[in-house]
């Protein structure tokens, strides 16, 4: 089922949670709502589910207006961050709940319910816990039971609110891969909320990046990572280096470094922000000709498993920059703290300060998890 959201607004008192959301979620896709806490992503999910009512705006399910439908009639499966299992029921009864509460005419027989529940427990690979109670399960198991319970009613849409947020890193990674495979088997339109950019990049077909009640960008993981539409998206997805700079006649100047930026041909002496990902920087021992490198001193070397991260102090400005390189590359030329090097950005993205898409950087520097 496709979901269309048009002009959605929601306030809580004076707090604007959603400020004009327009979004189309095509049928059968797995979509991530990604953003820092307080950006409105959970509110949006709850409004889609019918657990919250929007102040204005519409939600269309398959082109039909569902804005006034009760949560019971929306045919959505909802998975909560803290599982929200029924503590006094066995796992079996938890999963069977949605079938048992159906009106008599549509309620399956006991035998059908049993078969269905067992099939679902099989699907989440937990058929052996059917007679246990939720308090006897681990967090990962509880969340899988919550998912089985949501799937039991054959929902048209699956909505997951930070489904792996309460789990430890290892279980979280396992479960998100498992969710991806499950989605590939079932093809049920799914929306999940997360503040973890890695999770969104790994699992989702489409990522909706949200910030302060509005949508910053919608796109595939590759699009939002490689071509961020706004500085916020750039900062929020992955680590960044920010260089304050000036753009003039299609060239950006950062310290002694000059890079051509044809998209800003018209700008004249405009203050700008240049972003470079830590893995898009080469570190050289010798300067290159023609203002393509910046001098810097290495202040810290740390090993992060498969990567080595260098912290550099830029020679003229004293600003700190981060560079990431593979282990092999580092091993080929092991740089030491105190070495004088020359950095050369391979890829650099420039946003002008007076661009309407660019907010004052003060706002989002604090609340992005990816920084």
């Amino acid at each position: 089922m496709s979901i269309e959201i048009q002009g959605l607004h929601k306030r809580f008192g004076h707090f604007v949670a959603l400020d004009g959301i327009d979004l189309t979620i095509p049928a059968g896709q797995l979509v991530a709502l990604l953003g820092p806490s307080g950006c409105g992503k959970t509110t949006l999910l709850r409004i889609i589910a019918g657990l919250e009512m929007a102040d204005c705006g519409q939600i269309l399910f398959n082109g039909e207006d569902a804005s006034r439908r009760q949560v019971q009639d929306r045919q959505v499966g909802f998975v909560f961050q803290h599982y929200a299992l029924f503590q006094h029921m066995s796992v079996f009864e938890n999963v069977a709940f949605g079938l048992r509460v159906r009106p008599r005419a549509r309620r399956p027989s006991d035998a059908q319910i049993r078969d269905k529940v067992h099939a679902l427990l099989e699907l989440v690979q937990l058929s052996w816990v059917a007679n246990r109670y939720p308090s006897q399960l681990s967090g990962g198991q509880r969340q899988r039971i919550a998912l089985a319970r949501a799937l039991a009613v054959e929902p048209q849409v699956l909505l997951l609110d930070e489904p792996f947020g309460a789990l430890d890193t290892k279980v979280r990674k396992e479960l998100r891969r498992w969710l991806r495979r499950l989605h590939d088997d079932l093809h049920i339109t799914s929306v999940f909320v997360t503040h973890d950019q890695e999770e969104a990049l790994e699992v989702a077909d489409q990522i909706v990046v949200m910030n302060r009640g509005h949508i910053e960008q919608v796109g595939s993981p590759q699009e939002v990572y490689d071509a961020p539409a706004t500085p916020f998206v750039y900062q929020f997805l992955g680590n960044i280096n920010l260089f304050h700079s000036r753009v003039h006649a299609g060239w950006v100047k950062v310290g002694g470094l000059r890079v051509q930026v044809p998209e800003h041909d018209a700008a004249e002496h405009a203050p700008a922000m240049a972003y470079v990902r830590p893995h898009d920087i080469d570190v050289l021992r010798e300067p290159e000709d023609g203002d393509t490198t910046l001098a810097a001193t290495i202040s810290r070397v740390s090993s992060l498993g498969s990567l080595v991260r260098l912290e550099l102090i830029q020679a003229p400005s004293g600003e700190i920059a981060e560079v990431e390189m593979t282990r092999e590359r580092y091993a080929a030329d092991p740089l030491q703290v105190g070495d004088l090097v020359f950095v050369k950005p391979r890829q650099l993205r420039v946003f002008l300060y007076n661009d309407p898409k660019v907010e004052s950087p003060m706002h989002w520097s604090g609340d992005g998890d990816g920084i």
Partner: protein, 281 residues
């Protein structure tokens, strides 16, 4: 499996605290109760049996336990509603209402009895209004129930309230998203979660109502065979210097109360295990 009396623990002092607990319980509860037994067995078995099965005494058991049971049942229902309203809905004066619930705890029971008798007697406010309908409350078994409902009200409210407060809203939302209507959410999700607390509240209210004396004697009228409760019977025996008779009736009451509370406790344990709150041991 070997029974292990003493579990290793980070907090020392098991021996001391257990000793204190047993000593205290013995001093405060067991010794006085044992005295009732010794006093009662000054009677021969025939005398004892005759005393505790006299028709007037039997009628008083029925009234005491029956009225206490009904009062506890009534309070289980209304106490739950009061707790629900106090937890779920914000309204002006909520704190005041909340404090009001505890008043029956604090009020001397005699004051409660006199007030209730005044209001429910045939020339009191409520008694007067009910008179044309043919309902008499004061000086009837109904009056006893009213008094017991009054004094045991706080128990259910105070046991259920914290449990309701702890119920996650998400659980109800999950049930709603699975298609359950309000009734189903209440009966299948909320009520089972609250049931153990409700049973505890019921037990406390019941126990309190069985032992109540002060408020009942004013409103009951104390007519033998009709509205005379067992505690009053014991007191009147004492007033006639029939100490052994009083002790005999007390012992019977004690044994019945103990059995009832034991049964309720077992019931509660069974209900908890069945609902997965506790692992089966």
């Amino acid at each position: 499996m070997m029974f292990r009396f003493r579990q290793p623990s980070v907090l020392p002092g098991f021996g001391l605290t257990l000793g204190f607990t047993l000593g205290y319980l013995g001093l405060i509860v067991l010794i006085p109760l044992a005295m009732a037994f010794t006093q009662a067995f000054h009677l021969s078995w025939d005398q004892f049996w005759h005393t505790v099965t006299a028709p007037r005494v039997l009628a008083s058991y029925r009234l005491t336990f029956g009225a206490a049971f009904l009062a506890a049942v009534i309070n289980t229902g209304f106490g739950f509603i009061i707790a629900w309203v106090l937890v779920r809905y914000p309204f002006p004066g909520k704190r005041l209402v909340d404090a009001l619930v505890d008043l029956p705890f604090a009020l001397p029971t005699a004051v409660a009895g006199i007030t209730l008798a005044a209001i429910y007697s045939s020339n009191g406010w409520i008694g007067h209004a009910l008179k044309p309908l043919g309902i008499k409350i004061a000086f009837t078994p109904l009056g006893v129930i009213v008094a017991l409902v009054f004094i045991s009200l706080p128990f259910v409210v105070r046991t259920v309230q914290p449990v309701l407060e702890d119920l996650e809203a998400e659980v109800e939302e999950a049930a709603a998203s699975l298609g359950a209507d309000r009734w189903q959410i209440f009966w299948r999700v909320i009520f089972p979660a609250v049931r153990p607390a409700l049973l505890t509240g019921f037990t406390l209210a019941f126990a309190r109502a069985i032992g109540e004396y002060g408020s009942v004697i004013f409103i009951a009228g104390n007519l033998p065979m009709i509205s005379e409760i067992t505690p009053l019977l014991i007191v009147s025996k004492l007033e006639q210097y029939d100490y052994s008779g009083a002790a005999a009736v007390s012992v019977v009451m004690l044994v019945i109360s103990f059995m009832l509370l034991l049964v309720i406790n077992l019931l509660q344990r069974w209900s908890r295990i069945r609902n997965g709150w506790e692992a089966v041991t």
